[in-house]
Amino acid sequence: MTAGNGEFRSFAATRLDALYRSAVLLTGQHQSAEDLVQETLTRMYVVWRSRPLEDPVAYSRRTLVNTFISSRRRRSSSEYPQEVLPEVVAPAPDVDGRVDVHRALGELRPIDRAIVVLRYLEDIPVDEVAATLRMSPGNVRVRATRALATLRTSLPLQSAASTTREDTHE
């Protein structure tokens, strides 16, 4: 094991849980989340071997969401509409509403899901979210507002429990 390898291992150990938490909300599935984190760390390791990273935490976050978004694009381009719907079993909401949250997030476009996760789970400022996703801060704000409106519709129980207070969260 090289010194760089050891440093990367330490870094990955400190970031594993945070990356996984974001990944599980992005993908909605435990196994897919682990796959996403592994691909993220793999890509990061290759870069780590070649040059020093100025902000490894931000880099890991950016790699995670970009890997997720690009994987969804690939999946989208490889899916074809069928005349007969495949037989599926829709997950029923469990008592604590966990499935509801995953389902509601799943209704968002991947990039909007990434914005929600970065903005509201990881509490990243708008400017930093914009830099991570390479879009303007204004675009992030607009998308975040629309995503929040969609989630309010999708999560009526939680919406009813909320108050009229709107946090700026910046």
């Binding site: 929600v116 207070r165 946090d167």
Partner: protein, 202 residues
Amino acid sequence: MSETDLTVLLEQTADRSPAPDPGIIDRSIAAGERRVRRRTATRVLGAAAALAVVAAGATWTINAKVADRTPATSAAEACRRDYTPRVLPAWATTGFSSPNPTMPYVLGDRGDIVAILWAEHDPLVVPPAQDRNNKILWVGRVASEGSLQIKAHLIGSDRSVTRTVDGGPGPSIIDLPDAGCWSLDLTWGKQHDHLQLEYAPS
């Protein structure tokens, strides 16, 4: 639902998920290492292909001009003019399409580097031949940063020269000033090895 409500909801949902497998880290490093090796091999082969293009115009026949070569005086048994193609060490095969590529090569004394040659007979000549280059593909067992430094000494003489392969072990054209058996001390990063190569008179 406020933004704070959403944050709480997302955190609760994430908290309920099972813990990630810590083995992800080991698997990521292993996969990353494989990608690094593949990229290195791709670059090496790309450069080797470029060298081949440079050498084109000439016909690289393995048996070219062998029969009428005058035997050179070799100062050490380790130096050879004939190299029977052999299966490369497993760590030196990355990038070859065959799973067991067979090439003429010389293995370093410590087994940490191979010099892959491009002809079975007299692959290296002095002065350089008109129809081909003194091409050597260096492959190190362990990747390391920095260039490959070659200190070459003509055995039986006081003649020494140095050569540098930028970027470390990889494709190169190594011309040396005199025919004979050359002892090559090789250093790349923290790695070191030694081997001998015969340069035949052309």
